[in-house]
């Protein structure tokens, strides 16, 4: 694939998706691990969209979880309570509505930049958090349930059963793959050229006649609706949404994952999510004071890795630092 930019990325992506395709065969019946992988993959989609925003577009946000939560809530609120809806149709609705919300939010937050943008995104996310947490009709702090999972037929063909963990896993994997390809394509496109330019030097891009606001807005809407898609998948997996999906520490954790993976590399988002969640899982099972070791590990990683895991892989495979 010509969209892959260096050797380590190539190796990683091929390996990851190859293993990803076959792993359920080895986990035969162990629904927990299949579920766990689905969860991490969903998270990876979310982190990837954040990575695009922060690492490629230079728009740092601490409110990205707002769209993650919104994705879940939009679906849960829209879908009739006791009737299976079509997955693809609702995918479209969720992304459309969240995209529209992102457009409005973008019009507001993109007026600021840098740390101020971080804070205003945070503020809006907190506001939507409280909106759902204080609301009576949307379940308040306890959240909402999805009673019936959508069906996935296209033109009458039905080959995915979302109640089945393995099927759901493959849906997540496919989604991750599509997201990855999508981001890589837009990064290499003419649009991506402008995004690269305005990340590095917005003033100069303006002087060259670009209305950088438009480009940022598009990037923001794209990334946000993909975050919402991830939230939608999350809601489907366990049939449950909760305002805490929007809380700021979800955004912060996602940022940590993106950074661990290697900011702006897109595939680093996959590494970051798996490494973080993997560490979390193992350390948590070792000791009650897992936080201590998790913290120490994170610190050790920041100090030793300059460009995250992706950067580390890149040096391993003999690539130049970009």
């Amino acid at each position: 694939m010509s969209i892959l930019s260096n050797k380590s990325e190539k190796i990683f992506i091929y390996l990851f998706f190859a293993i990803g395709l076959f792993i359920p065969l080895f986990l035969e019946g162990n629904t927990f691990f299949i579920n766990k992988f689905s969860t991490i993959i969903i998270l990876a989609i979310f982190v990837m969209s954040l990575d695009y925003l922060v690492g490629r577009t230079g728009l740092i946000t601490l409110g990205h979880a707002m769209f993650y939560g919104l994705g879940g809530y939009i679906f849960t609120i829209l879908a009739p309570e006791y009737e299976a809806v079509n997955f693809w149709v609702y995918t479209f609705y969720v992304m459309l509505i969240s995209g529209f919300i992102a457009l409005i939010v973008g019009l507001i937050v993109l007026r600021t930049s840098g740390i101020y943008m971080i804070m205003i995104t945070l503020a809006l996310a907190q506001m939507s958090f409280y909106f759902f947490a204080d609301s009576i009709e949307y379940g308040g702090q306890d959240g909402l349930f999805v009673y019936i999972k959508p069906e996935t037929s296209i033109f009458g063909l039905n080959f995915l059963d979302l109640e089945n963990e393995t099927h759901f896993y493959y849906l997540c994997l496919l989604s991750l793959f599509n997201c990855f390809v999508f981001f890589k394509i837009i990064m290499n496109s003419s649009f991506g050229r402008v995004i690269d330019a305005l990340k590095e030097n917005p003033d100069r891009a303006t002087a060259l006649g670009y209305n950088i606001f438009h480009f940022r807005l598009i990037a923001y809407v794209l990334a946000s609706s993909l975050a919402a898609y991830a939230g939608y998948l999350f809601a489907l997996q366990f049939g449950f949404v909760n305002p805490s999906m929007m809380s700021w520490d979800v955004s912060a954790t996602a940022l940590v994952m993106a950074l661990l993976g290697g900011l702006g590399t897109i595939y680093g988002a996959i590494i970051g999510s798996f490494v973080y969640e993997g560490l979390h899982y193992f350390i948590e099972h070792l000791t009650e004071y897992w936080m201590f070791f998790m913290g120490a590990l994170i610190i050790a990683l920041v100090l030793t890795l300059k460009n995250g895991m992706a950067g580390f892989l890149n040096t391993l495979s003999g690539g130049k630092r970009s």
């Binding site: 394509i185 837009i186 290499n188 496109s189 003419s190 649009f191 991506g192 050229r193 402008v194 690269d196 330019a197 590095e200 030097n201 003033d203 100069r204 891009a205 303006t206 002087a207 060259l208 006649g209 670009y210 209305n211 950088i212 480009f215 598009i218 970009s322």
Partner: protein, 252 residues
Amino acid sequence: MSQTILEAENLCKFWGGLKALNELNIQFKDKQLHSIVGPNGAGKSTLLNTLCGAYPATSGVILYHGKPITHLKGYEFCREGIGRSFQKTNIFHNATCLENCCIAAQQRIGGNFNLFRKRSKNRQITEIARKALQQVGLTARADTRATEVSYGEQRQLEIAMVLATAPKVLLLDEPMAGMGHEESQTIISLLKELKQQYCIVLVEHDMDAVFELSDLMTVMVDGQHLITDTVDNIRNNPLVQDAYLGNDDEVF
């Protein structure tokens, strides 16, 4: 006489109490190199920045082909054909020289909102970019990252980027600053060529270059227009000598 392309009428730019541009009137003509000189802080860079839309004017009008364009947004000036280079090198350091020019050219050719077409597939853009690089003599450096080329070459790149936007007016802010003798000569001959086609506004403290290149010169002092005239008249004008040149030779 060639026709006036760009002009400023009663242009003012205030920074708080400071009048960086004070009721300035000035015309720039097509296919001429018009240089602007003046002491430090006279408002030359401010003038260029206002003319290219980077700073909104406090008051006054900018006319382009006789039409007022003062109300336009910053990024629209470039689309109208007003290109500018910066006093402090202002390029995309991590991109190659070619890519730098591509970014400039793409704005004109379009496809900016094409999310899916591979950027390198657009030959037209690449061609324009190459031509711009060739004009400033940077063809050999096309695939080198901009950080890795020397300071002088970065200045050349700066100009190539402006050319790639196909401007009608070129606003150049101290393109020779920090350049060695040889590089300066390259730029001077480049500008000589360019002024056959474009209207060029040049701000520069290198008097040798200015005297050699200018068709017209304007002297600014404290945000105000002091005089506009030909090189010879300016050189010998006692007012100018007092305010800017100093009356003896630089070697003392």
